[in-house]
């Protein structure tokens, strides 16, 4: 295909026109005739027993159609929301799995837990009526503090999980690690709190449903990253609607970052109630509800120790983490601090033995689950924090210590001591390039110059590895995952020669409509404007696993490649017939079938037409039509890697940290559209910078109220909090998928917190400051400098 639109080209996005002209179609934009509107009454308490609910006054309010309480849902035998990943603890026992009612019937367990749904003719009327519902609560003791969750005195969240322990899990051989520590010349220790984050996709979660009495068909529109998975969960586990009678549509979705993977209470309720109300129901979260009830991210407390020999070679790593699950186990919550976290603790290094122990805790807070990076940012933060601290303690250059311990470029595939086998990589050129782009050599001069202005300048490295492109299904199955992790694709030619590409992946900002079209255009020689990518509707697309874990291109794109190869194989047979040649002699180049060594040729479009109008066609051997589907199950994860270098200035008088320079060099394998990849990296970095400098979900320790419950209280990164970025690439193609691609969606967020925090610690080291809690807000930094007595919230 032409260089302007094929693989590697900076093709402008096909989705932009509708988004730029206000014609995108998000869930809340749907016009549904005769629609009703739902509003949820939520618990104002972190933990309470519901003594009674009186809906009589509310039911008489204007416009009210129906009110459902947790008792109605329990009486109707609606199932529990599920956690779809069984993690076995260190004794081989499955994790504790307390029930997660769709609406609380007798006990509420976090502020925001839904207790009633009001359905009315307008949203305002539903909201007014919800205020008239009288709930008599008996407030119970609560605990929102992760560090205290296992204390004997902490309030119990569920009777099914004694001591609030969901699992006590381990990986690695502790005795080997202890033996290595015994021989260490130096041990570096860190205590880390990985701050709790609230995802805040700009489009709040929304759901709309209608029920067709005549056919028994439910249609649910949801802000989902994976409509087929949502349908599967609702059908098989929660609502019992036969899968073929439930259509789930995820139309334009305004960002997800993990938070829209999961099966939530509200979409379940809206779907369930649609048949009972007999009219469509719409619900859109207010931002306050997003803060309170979207699955939160991170929230770890970790102690880690790194053993080094006298040359600075890593001998062993030991990690103890407690991870907050919140009040209920969200859909994939249990996997995040185990298989997506501890398996990444080797980082880019040859650390020969690693042991990690993870305890998952229940608290009276919103559920915690995957958020951009999901486990890998936590692992990277541990590894890259401890490596930089070790360099500081040993008075070594942080880049030099990293280089000394990098997995050698000729050692791939490389088996880590924590289960993963890295397929490919070449780390030294990445850090070299990053240091060149960041002008590392000139840093000390810049530090001195900053000092002359009264500013403290610091520089921080973060050399991350991640495992994404989720995932080989059999590996997932062995680890307790409840689903396959392949992806599907269908390439459907129309008789006139244009193409629909149906994918099981879902785009909520990732630009699949462009990237996937580039692949098909490139491989099949069809002009890109004649390629339409279709996604997000269980009625029109093949069963797919959706988008998360930077999997869309590596897995979904590979499925498209497989389908494209099937198209070419079939086209070859048709072309051979049309050219009266042997299929073995037909070659395919730039959209044209040719007989090698002759001037005979047939364009693909002609074979398509012949396939749909098979008047001159080998019908005895070949089916008509040009429509091929494929499922692709990856052989391994993919392993993007990179180095970020962050340079900051601290104002010691105010504690304000300013990022003055930020460089990221990544290896994403082959790149389909560099413009889109850069956009993914920019966005990821800013989410990581947000975690490092600004964002923190805070619950009041006494009342369990979410204090950071709005954009007024929770510091989202804004344009003037961040600089422009310098990006670079190195390419080692993935050896096991047909495009040679790795994932780029999460890398920025995975690496950035450590890069920023290492820079802050570097800047403050001359003052003797050894630890600043994350986020490095002005208050936290100022207190670290000035030895503030009061612990920052």
């Amino acid at each position: 295909m032409t260089a302007q639109t094929g693989i590697g080209a900076r093709v402008k996005r096909k989705e932009d026109l509708r988004f730029l002209t206000g014609t995108g179609r998000y869930v809340d934009d749907l016009p549904l005739a005769r629609s009703t509107y739902a509003h949820f009454l939520r618990s104002p308490h972190a933990h309470a027993r519901i003594k009674s609910i009186d809906i009589s006054a509310a039911k008489a309010m204007p416009g009210v159609v129906e009110i459902f309480t947790g008792k109605d849902v329990a009486d109707a035998k609606v199932g529990s929301l599920i956690c779809g990943w069984v993690v076995k603890d260190k004794h081989g026992q499955p994790h504790k799995a307390p029930p997660h009612p769709v609406m609380a019937a007798d006990t509420v367990r976090y502020v925001g837990d839904p207790v009633a749904m009001v359905v009315a003719n307008s949203h305002d009327e539903a909201k007014d009526a919800a205020e008239a519902i009288k709930v008599d609560y008996e407030v119970l003791p609560s605990n929102v503090d992760l560090a205290k969750a296992f204390d004997g005195g902490a309030a119990q969240v569920h009777a099914e999980a004694p001591g609030n322990l969901v699992y006590d899990w381990e990986i690695g051989v502790k005795a080997d690690v202890d033996a290595a520590f015994a021989k260490a010349a130096h041990v570096t220790k860190v205590d880390i709190v990985n701050n709790r984050l609230i995802p805040n996709a700009m489009e709040p979660r929304a759901a709309a449903a209608e029920y067709d009495k005549g056919t028994g068909q439910y249609t649910l529109w949801s802000t989902s990253q994976n409509p087929h998975v949502l349908r599967l969960i609702l059908s098989a586990f929660v609502l019992g609607i036969p899968e073929h009678k439930l259509r789930v549509i995820a139309p334009d979705v305004g960002g997800g970052f993990g938070s829209k993977i999961f099966c939530y209470n509200e979409e379940t309720m809206v779907c369930w109630a649609a048949s009972r109300v007999g009219r469509p129901i719409k619900w859109t979260a207010e931002r306050t509800e997003s803060f309170q009830t979207d699955a939160h991210g991170r929230d770890h407390v970790t102690h880690a120790e790194l053993a080094l020999d006298k040359e600075g070679k890593f001998l062993a790593l030991k990690v103890e983490t407690i991870a907050n699950m919140g009040a209920y186990l969200s859909t994939f919550s249990t996997a995040v601090p185990t298989y997506l976290y501890a398996t990444l603790l080797a980082g880019q290094y040859t650390t020969p033995v690693i042991y990690a122990n993870v305890k998952a805790a229940l608290t009276h807070t919103a559920p915690v689950d995957a958020y951009r990076g999901a486990g890998r940012p936590e692992a990277t933060f541990v590894v890259e924090t401890i490596v930089s601290k070790a360099a500081q303690e040993l008075k070594m250059d942080p880049a030099e210590l990293r280089r000394k311990n990098f997995i050698p470029s000729d050692a791939f595939p490389y088996q880590t001591p924590v289960a993963l086998q890295y397929d490919s990589g070449n780390y030294p050129p990445i850090i070299d390039e990053a240091m060149k782009m960041a002008d590392y050599k000139g840093f000390e001069a810049r530090r001195a110059e900053a000092k002359s202005r009264g500013k403290l300048r610091g520089i921080g490295f973060s050399s991350y590895i991640e495992a994404c492109g989720l995932a080989p299904s059999q590996v997932i199955g062995q680890l307790g995952g409840g689903v396959g992790q392949w992806e599907s694709a269908q390439i459907r030619f129309n008789p006139t020669g244009n193409v629909q590409v149906l994918t099981g992946a879902h785009s909520h900002g990732q630009s699949h409509e462009t990237t996937f079209a580039q692949i098909v255009s490139d491989k099949l020689g069809v002009p890109i404007e004649q390629v339409e990518v279709v996604h997000g509707d269980t009625a029109t697309t093949p069963f797919g696993m959706g988008s998360y874990g930077s999997r869309s291109l590596a897995v979904g794109g590979s499925a498209i490649m497989k389908a494209a190869h099937k198209i070419i194989a079939k086209g070859k047979k048709i072309a051979a017939h049309l050219m009266e040649a042997s299929a073995a002699d037909v070659v395919f180049e730039n959209g044209i079938f040719k007989v090698a060594g002759t001037d005979k040729s047939v364009p693909l479009a002609q074979t398509v037409f012949a396939a749909y109008v098979p008047h001159n066609y080998p019908l005895a051997e070949l089916e008509p039509g040009m429509d091929e589907n494929a499922f692709y199950d990856p052989a391994n994860f993919v392993y993007p890697a990179g180095t970020q270098i962050c340079e900051i200035e601290v104002d010691p008088d105010t504690g304000v940290v300013e990022i003055v320079n930020f460089t990221a060099v990544d290896d994403f394998g082959n790149i389909i559209n560099p413009m889109i990849v850069e956009g993914q990296v920019h966005g990821g970095i800013v989410q990581g910078v947000g975690q490092a400098l600004l964002e923190k979900a805070v619950y009041d320790k006494d009342t369990g109220q979410l204090l950071s419950g709005s954009f007024n209280d929770y510091a989202m990164p804004r344009a003037d909090d961040v600089p422009s970025f310098k990006l670079g690439y190195k390419v080692t193609p993935c050896p096991h998928n047909p495009l040679g691609v790795k994932g780029c969606g999460e890398a920025g967020a995975i690496a950035a917190p450590a890069a920023v925090m290492n820079a802050v610690h570097d800047a403050l080291a001359p003052l003797g400051v050894s630890h600043v809690p994350m986020p490095a807000t002005p208050l936290n930094v100022w207190q670290a400098i000035h030895g503030g007595a009061r612990q920052a919230a």
């Binding site: 988004f19 809340d28 805040n200 889109i676 956009g679 920019h682 800013v686 961040v722």
Partner: protein, 161 residues
């Protein structure tokens, strides 16, 4: 109780009956079916709902529909002459990949146009970043939005818009 309201939206006279509490953004989305303007928060922080009222950018969630009585309102739907001829700011957003999920985009574009005009078509990066305080984006990291606005300023001047 409903109250009649009338205004001009994207050059066309419109009217309706609203409750006193109906916000301008609700009137646009729910009464007129113009869903290009988005609601991303409940505290007037995110800026997804920015429209122009009598030529000035306004968060349409902070204004009652009745306060816009008689006003000239421009929304994201009213910017482009046609699918082929976008406003220079829309074009710059496309050229510079300044949008991903598209949800904050309408407000970003409307704020950006107002920003360029208020600054007399002359902007630098620091000014753009400061002026974007009232618009949140979770996808792009702002890098390409800033680039787009800086590129659009001279293009708007040249186009006389």
């Amino acid at each position: 109780m409903t109250i009649p309201v009338a205004m001009t939206v994207n050059g066309k006279p419109v009217s309706g009956k609203v409750e006193a509490r109906t916000l301008l953004v609700q009137f646009l989305r729910e009464h007129l079916g113009m869903t290009g303007t988005h609601v991303g928060c409940d505290t007037s922080q995110c800026g997804a709902c920015v429209v122009h009222v009598d030529g000035k950018s306004v968060k349409s969630c902070t204004m009652l529909a009745l306060q816009a009585e008689g006003a000239q309102v421009t929304t994201i739907e009213g910017l482009a002459e046609s699918a082929e001829k976008l406003h220079p700011m829309q074009e710059a957003f496309r050229e510079n990949h300044a949008l991903q999920c598209g949800f904050c985009t309408p407000g970003m574009v409307m704020s950006a146009i107002d920003m360029v005009k208020r600054n007399n078509y002359q902007l630098d990066e620091a000014t753009v970043r400061r002026e974007l305080e009232g618009n949140l984006c979770r996808c792009t990291g702002y890098h390409n939005i800033v680039k787009a606005i800086l590129a659009a300023a001279p293009a708007m001047k040249a186009a006389g818009v």
